[in-house]
């Protein structure tokens, strides 16, 4: 697994945990958006956290920034700009760095998007989810299909030429035909990148309970399988090629920030509930806006929880689990150089079992999931867990 980022560089993630309304399928940390004053205070706190961050990483090269949420597009473009500028004063932002912002179609227009571009955003990830009103209602989204189309046009007009769409399949009531229609229409807007996400529900979210009560019915597994593979084939024909289990892109438009996660790169997260990993340590800021605003013991840092302290072996395992999500898979030799582990020897029984059952393949020194293995990848990945 040759890393695709400059050596020793970092990715920076900013979490904006506010939403107009919580979607019934979402289990990410977010709170209902209060008012502009709160967003302003949060932005200031973010800048404080960034400026106060440890000397250890100060000045490190950064090749991607990602504003995720929640709904980052609730921030004013000026606030985004302030955050980026604060980062620029603490880190070495590399030339051509990727700066992505997740956008809820209901929260933007052409002028706000133009302002975002001016603030430094150069990649936009539009949370379309669907282009069918019926499905958007089931998902409890605050935008309509028309609003989604408008947002796409606005982003285009604002001059964004690195556009990604999030689309969801496996929605209660969704048919294969409706899904393919959504895809077809999405492609007609000529995005550079598309993420197709299977709707997966944690048991406690409202939609899961509605399904348990029988009020909503998920598509059959066979239909879900068809939606996934038909989407991949269709997009492939349009030049949008799969590079990860749920991600596809035109050549040259892979999401640099997310690749870092799958290639076991290092990253720092800022904001409530944001996660960071450096070396074997992964930690998280308190998943609570008030606690985050209050800061840590001496206010210098956010209240943090250590999630994992991984030994080298565990780091290698994470690199396998994440790396196999990529359709290129893991380069056996590069992996050995990086982690000192020979995949084919140390995991021989697993590799043999799944290559013979057709879920894994070994091809010119690359170990990867087969196409058939992608949608049942947990069967394979869990066997690499020790």
């Amino acid at each position: 697994m040759e890393a695709t980022w400059p050596q020793n560089s970092l990715g920076l993630y900013v979490h904006i945990p506010f939403c107009r309304r919580k979607c019934p399928y979402c289990d990410f940390y977010s709170v209902t958006f209060a008012d502009q004053a709160q967003l302003q205070a949060y932005t200031e706190r973010l800048c404080f956290e960034i400026s106060a961050c440890s000397e250890d990483y100060r000045g490190k090269p950064v090749d991607s920034i990602y504003f995720g949420g929640g709904t980052p597009s609730l921030l004013k473009p000026a606030q985004i700009g302030t955050v980026i500028n604060t980062m620029a004063s603490r880190f070495t932002l590399l030339k051509d760095l990727e700066i992505t912002m997740e956008i809820n179609p209901a929260t933007v227009n052409r002028s706000s998007l133009e302002a975002c571009k001016t603030a430094g955003i150069n990649r936009v990830s539009l949370g379309l989810q669907s282009l069918q009103d019926k499905e958007l209602r089931v998902l409890g989204r605050i935008h309509s299909a028309a609003a989604a189309r408008k947002a796409i046009t606005a982003a285009d007009a604002a001059g964004f030429h690195n556009l990604s769409f999030d689309l969801i399949y496996g929605i209660p009531g969704q048919t294969i035909t409706a899904w393919m229609q959504t895809l077809q229409e999405a492609v007609s807007f000529q995005p550079q990148h598309i993420s197709i996400y299977l709707l997966q529900l944690e048991s406690q979210v409202p939609m899961a309970r509605a399904i348990a009560r029988g009020e909503l019915v998920l598509p059959a597994e066979e239909d879900i399988e068809a939606m996934y593979y038909q989407a991949i084939d269709y997009l492939h024909d349009k030049g949008i090629v799969q590079y990860e289990i749920s991600n596809l892109a035109l050549d040259g438009y892979l999401c640099r920030h997310n690749l870092r996660y799958w290639q076991f790169g290092e990253y720092l997260g800022f904001g409530a509930a944001a996660v960071s990993r450096l070396g074997g340590r992964r930690w998280m800021n308190a998943a609570d806006v008030d606690a985050y605003m209050a800061g840590g013991p001496n206010r210098s840092e956010a209240a943090q929880i250590v999630l994992e302290d991984m030994k080298p072996r565990q780091q290698a395992q994470e690199a396998i689990i994440m790396g196999l999500r990529l359709t290129n898979g893991l380069n056996v030799e590069a992996f050995r150089r990086r982690f000192g582990i020979s995949l084919l020897q140390e995991f021989r029984p697993v590799v043999e079992r799944f290559t013979s059952s057709g879920l894994l393949e070994l091809d010119h020194g690359w170990l990867r999931l087969t196409k058939a293995g992608l949608l049942v990848s947990n069967q394979v990945l869990c066997c690499f867990v020790e």
Binding site: E225, Y267, L374, N378
Partner: protein, 600 residues
Amino acid sequence: MSLDHIRNFSIIAHIDHGKSTLADRLLQVTGTISEREMRDQFLDKMDLEREKGITIKLQPVRLNYKARDGKDYILNLIDTPGHVDFSYEVSRSLAACEGALLVVDASQGIEAQTLANVYMAMDQDLEIIGIVNKIDLPGADPDKVKTEMEDVLGIASEEIIPISAKTGQGVEEVLEAIVSRVPCPRGEEHGPLQALIFDSYFDSYQGAISYIRVVSGQIRRGDMIKMMSSGKVYETTALGVISPYMTEVETLGAGEVGYLAAGIKNVSDTRVGDTITLASNPADNPLPGYQEVKPMVYCGLYPLENNDFERLRDALDKLKLNDSSLFYEPESSDALGFGFRCGFLGLLHLEIVRERLEREYDLSLLATAPSVVYKVMLSDGSEMDIQNPKLWPPAQRLEAVKEPYVKASMMVPNEFVGAIMELCREKRGQYVNMEYLTSQRVMITYKLPLAEILYDFFDALKSRTRGYASLDYEISGYEISDLVKLDILLNGEVVDALSMITHHDNAYYRARALTQKLRRIIPRQMYEVVIQASIGAKVIARESVKAMRKDVLAKCYGGDITRKKKLLEKQKEGKKRMKQIGHIEVPKDAFMSVLNIEKE
């Protein structure tokens, strides 16, 4: 201490009527344990006993009591188990006593096991002290229950003591009644030693420890003793009483109850029911022993990890030391590899043994469906016992089959008579008789195949009588039945460990219910799994588990890697609870699923 200051007694009761609570209170009132040491179910040492609120092993304890007559008495209490699986333990306890406290719940009245226990006590000529317990509860009707006890059991109602074991009310009266009414032990204090082993267990430091009742003579630490059944001689290394902790004593004399250790490595050398005598001055005859208990239910126990076979053998060896009724021998299954065929007194016993093996010996086990012992007559005139469906002969060699029947006594309020009769008919029961114990309470007796009792009979009985029915049963003999072997196939291969014997009339229904149940519990796999049930070559039911289509983490980014890794770890853990049969992963619970298919 002379014999007239000793009283040996048991407590007998239907399950949940308050036996262990009364024992707790007796320990407390006599000052045998302090308030500080007190905890509920004090005599139940095993975690399992405390969790399930039942007594499994009997347990003797010595109470010192100063009676109202001003004299000091030694009261030896032998707590007894309450579940029908362990009724043999009750009989062993009773043989070491002169009296029994019969505890009846003041709101429930007499139940099936109350009767069974009273008859056992009467057979042994014990003095029975009637007690109505739980008189503090709102639903209590002590007078009605007293009348019932007088009418049904012939215990004079004015002699019955009303108590609340929970609050302690009336417990002093019980102690006084033990002193005044239970006969003191009789026995030749200076004769040759005769001591009855009524239980034994294995201690890793002292070897086998026997609970004994000295009937005549005296035993002293250091004495060379002889087991009368085997003639083997040992040196007594420790003698003591339990009050309530093990307390060493120099001697145990006639009438006394205590424990004995003699460096005996094998508990089978301290057979329960055997008589201990002195090697130097042996008694002429042993005491009347016990009937050897025979297992009624068999199942296969297999380690989930194949290389745990030897560990399972060691664990069974050790458990057997404390549980003489446990039977086991190695067997192998095509599907499950090497394991043991184990025999148990009943399903509760099976469950307890399995749980103890898993907890105390850290094993992960798979149990196959329980089976009773069938007597199979072959066309060549020979006969064989079969307790493993795998060994069932092919139909053309079968002449006839007999299966064990029990005589089941069920006690219910009369409005449930119809429900019980219907249930017993469904379970192939034969009506024996019906007796009104009072105007409202009826004792119904049926002959039922033991196999039917094993399969959820008790649950069905409880649910159809809103919990009012109580059950007791004893083996009544073998009868010819139209039985067939039902095989289960997964993707065309017979899984021997899932085979079961069933009555021909129920075969189709069971086959359908079982395949449906397996379809629900076998998770989707990478390939379709076809589940079939067959008699011989004829498939009579079919279901299938479709192939898995999706098992994926759709999103996996920087913020949720830890959580997603945990999901994969959990999934990997889940696989450990599966048994790999061919290419198919079968949850280990599937093998017991035949037990409760009717609940679906």
